[in-house]
């Protein structure tokens, strides 16, 4: 089982600290969301510029048992990955994976590191299926999901409304955790020497 906090080194040598999100991170988390470009914020589920909403998402829920991991660089949150597993019901064996990385830290391997951590947590929870929801007009996000082993399984028409009022389709990307095992092993190997855990 993963122990936190832990420091990982990215491909370019930069170090980030990973640990679960804590109640005391409210303001740091809000600052992180505020730092995201409007373009990245527009596809978040809630208006994270309002600290009340950021607080709400950190509160415990009867319905969902979330796992949230944050990455810090120089004391600032630069990414968050989360799993959202229903506590009961017909989707109790599934979890939604969400990941947000600050622009400065994109394409540096941090997303892969967070994904590997999320995968380990999902395995620990005996989750059978992971899924992610991606707007259909976000080809980069769709491509990354596919590289991680997800495949587009269902398109929900007009399921997302942008702040400008435009309706867009959402793609449900899914992966069987068992099928994913080999891909994650490959991923970890490519990280060796670059994004491996520091000892």
């Amino acid at each position: 089982m993963a122990t936190y906090p832990k420091t990982v080194r990215l491909r370019d040598g930069a170090e980030v600290l990973l640990r679960p999100l804590e109640a005391g991170d409210l303001e740091s988390s809000h600052r992180f969301f505020l730092s995201l470009p409007q373009e990245d914020r527009r596809f978040l589920r809630i208006d994270v510029t309002d600290i009340a909403n950021v607080r709400l998402r950190m509160e415990p829920s009867d319905e969902v048992d979330p796992w949230r991991l944050v990455a810090f660089a120089d004391g600032t949150i630069v990414a968050e990955a989360s799993l959202h597993q229903p506590r009961y019901g017909w989707m109790r064996h599934t979890a939604e994976l969400r990941c947000i990385v600050a622009r400065d830290f994109q394409a540096r391997g941090l997303g892969s590191v967070l994904f590997a951590e999320a995968y380990q947590e999902a395995t620990r929870r005996h989750i059978e299926k992971l899924y992610g929801i991606v707007p259909s007009d976000q080809p980069a996000a769709l491509r990354i999901s596919e590289r991680l082993g997800f495949r587009a399984e269902l398109t929900l028409p007009d399921h997302l409304r942008t702040p400008e009022g435009e309706l867009k389709d959402l793609v449900v990307m899914t992966v069987n955790l068992r099928d994913l095992w080999h891909r994650v092993e490959d991923l970890m190997q490519t990280m060796d020497g670059h994004g491996r855990e520091r000892h």
């Binding site: 596809f43 589920r45 829920s61 019901g89 017909w90 109790r92 299926k129 398109t155 997302l160």
Partner: protein
């Protein structure tokens, strides 16, 4: 909304039911309604409705969800339950989801259709633009029912839902533009 209810509906089996929003003291009649459903039907529901704790918890929806849960009562007995819910805010707040469960002796009486029309009318008041329904793939009667109401199949998620016995089923998603 409250002044719309209670409403009275005469079912095709000759019985008259009162339809109104679920009230906090409906827990026991609701549990009894679920307990009397055939085991095969309970298998297809999204939660184990024989678990009092879960049923009770679901009577208190989270604050960020707008939920209308209607019950149809024949005398003191709940004979159907119908729900529409949508996120209070966020990028899918214009999408509602509906569910309808009817006791076997009140099926094919027009009650399910009546309840759905009530839910869709509520959706219109809430300015919802899309209504979704999620079913296990192996519920052809439910699928036909929603098709007749104008819902279209969006697609399937394979093995995405698990019944209370632990068996995986495909999840069928259907939707209706309002």
């Amino acid at each position: 909304m409250s002044n719309r209810y209670p409403r009275v509906f005469k079912c095709g089996n000759g019985k008259v039911v009162a339809v109104r929003p679920l009230a906090p003291d409906d827990l026991f009649p609701l549990l009894e309604f679920f307990a009397r459903l055939p085991a095969e039907d309970r298998l297809h529901l999204r939660v184990d409705v024989t678990d009092r704790d879960i049923v009770e918890r679901r009577m208190r929806p989270p604050s960020h969800w707008n939920v209308l849960r209607l019950v149809a009562l024949c005398g003191e007995r709940i004979v159907a339950e119908a729900t529409i819910e949508h996120a209070a805010h966020g990028f899918s707040a214009h999408v509602g989801e509906i569910r309808v469960i009817v006791a076997p002796d009140f099926r094919r009486t027009g009650l399910a259709g009546y309840l759905c029309r009530q839910l869709l009318a509520h959706g219109a008041v809430e300015n919802l633009e899309k209504i979704e329904v999620r079913l296990m793939r192996d519920q052809p009667a439910g699928q036909r029912f929603f098709e007749k109401l104008g819902f279209q199949e969006d697609g399937l998620l394979r093995g995405f839902v698990k019944d209370i016995e632990g068996k995986n089923h495909d999840l069928l998603v259907m939707s209706l533009r309002t």
